[in-house]
Symmetry: C2
Subunit: 324 residues, 2 copies
Amino acid sequence: MVTLKDVAKRAGVSLSTASYSINGSTLITDVTKQKVLAAAKEIGYRPNGLAKNLKEQKTNIIGLFLSGFTGPFFTDMMEGIQDVVIQNGYELMVYASDDKHRLLVERYVDGAIILNYHMKDSFLKSVADEKLPCIVLDRELESTFIKPVLLPNEQGSAMAVNHLLKKGHKRIGYMTGSVESYDGESRLKGFKKEIQKHDIRLSDQDLLRADFTEQSGFAAMRQYIDEHGQDLPSAIVCANDEMAMGAIRAIQGTGLKVPEDIAIIGFDDIYVSQYFNPPLTTIKVPRKEWGKTAAHALFKMMDPDYECDIDESVSVELMSRTSG
Amino acid sequence: MVTLKDVAKRAGVSLSTASYSINGSTLITDVTKQKVLAAAKEIGYRPNGLAKNLKEQKTNIIGLFLSGFTGPFFTDMMEGIQDVVIQNGYELMVYASDDKHRLLVERYVDGAIILNYHMKDSFLKSVADEKLPCIVLDRELESTFIKPVLLPNEQGSAMAVNHLLKKGHKRIGYMTGSVESYDGESRLKGFKKEIQKHDIRLSDQDLLRADFTEQSGFAAMRQYIDEHGQDLPSAIVCANDEMAMGAIRAIQGTGLKVPEDIAIIGFDDIYVSQYFNPPLTTIKVPRKEWGKTAAHALFKMMDPDYECDIDESVSVELMSRTSG
DNA sequence: ACAATGAATTGAAACGTTTCAATGGCAATA
DNA sequence: TATTGCCATTGAAACGTTTCAATTCATTGT
């Protein structure tokens, strides 16, 4: 491996001069600098990031920690984060883990954005510190070195409920996802709150549980219809679009019509939703903006004087299409 | 920052004993080991990955280097790669860059999978070496430390052409993406080859160029129809599904019908395609398997004795739906 | 009782950088 | 000519580990 030492030897200067030259210090004369640069090029020198990081106690990398790459939801958000991170002279590295979270524990990053239900609150608290501030996107945890940037899930659910009430629905069901998901649980909470607010009774029977995938939505709905025959709500709100799509397919499969027999509202407004048949009424989440906001918040933690150009807070919007 | 030194001091042993204990060496007695582990826990010791990596000249990280996170295409592939990488005791880190590619140059990874048209062949050649083998997914470059794992694009295009010929089409157009894309160009090449093989004339006019996004497909098609009025091919093959969907929307927008007036075939079989209206006929790319194959190939380069459990080669399949 | 064996522990070098502090040389000033 | 001050360069320590080689110490065999 070609090291700075080799470059220095070749250029006939000391190690430190070589280092200064490579890093463009003003101390070094141009002629020496050129000599070093030429030598580096000749022997194909590449700086060793690991050594540099060890010395500087800093990687210039921001980590995005996910529980998995699955689902169409995250790419927009990554783009948003990436934009801001690059703009600040850092790199973004995306990482999915369910167990040891090594890259976080072992300080591979200068800051982290967390959207990973596999990480326990206590784990995050033990890991976040001055040199490694964290933004959490999936829990309400807050401390000196941990700040949440959350979606207005409850508000979104309320929008969906009100939309349906306005259309005259009297009995509204809900399909929720896995319990581990913060977004899932807070969407459910918002739904229940708004239902109560309007003095509507919500029987346990009308609360379906699936796991956010389309398949699970399909299966849950199919089973629900099998069990409760003709005694169905006239509308169902789903905790995400994929389950909504699964539910719709299940309903259609039994000969019922959406939205005529059962209206369905989703959440997220993923790309497919507008093309689905029928086009999905849903709560739009501005994923890219969410990512940007998170990244800005992170840089603000890393540098209290940091100036965000645009720090929009995350808001949510009802897309009224055909399905509900 | 709590270091191993602190742990050693606290446990009343030497630095090296502490290190051996943490790493579970059999040399150390259990009682000492426990003492060290307890001390580590008490003061909240976390190993410093950077220091470790520097010493070991190895990160246990595999990098996936993309040009961007955009588009629905990549998540499946990431999953495939992730599975294999984890299974081998490594971590996967995903990274998008268009310029300096720092994480690759500075040896942050032990191996790399490349799908990034921003990286020049010469750059890759200069960067790949014994300690950093590369799998390329987007070019035919091959050397001792670089191996390609490619999609059978030409074969896929041929399938599409033959499918259309069998349906009686005599004049088939093609919508291609940006020139930088290997997949795009080889799909085009396969199309031309198969067309020639059947002695069909392909006028330049019937070759549309867009940039792989749905919008660009829409725009290109719209303009094409505006310009060439009634003189249209009866079928068009598109280099990916997104453009196909854009093209279909443009066609439908002028009152024409798909597939009755113009048949459309896409490429990739992204998730949306089956739900599109009309459901998209397309060439299915097994993205997850592609990822797995690439990862296996990489580990084989990193260790010639590496045994893959399943090393399927990548194949492609025509999904005959409604659009073409 | 003493050397030989072996196990447990430790000292110290190394990984490739950055950067502080020290050095050397040279021109300008006195 | 001797002193000052500046500038370019260099030596050496440090970052937190791992691991080879050396050391200590108890145990065994003779």
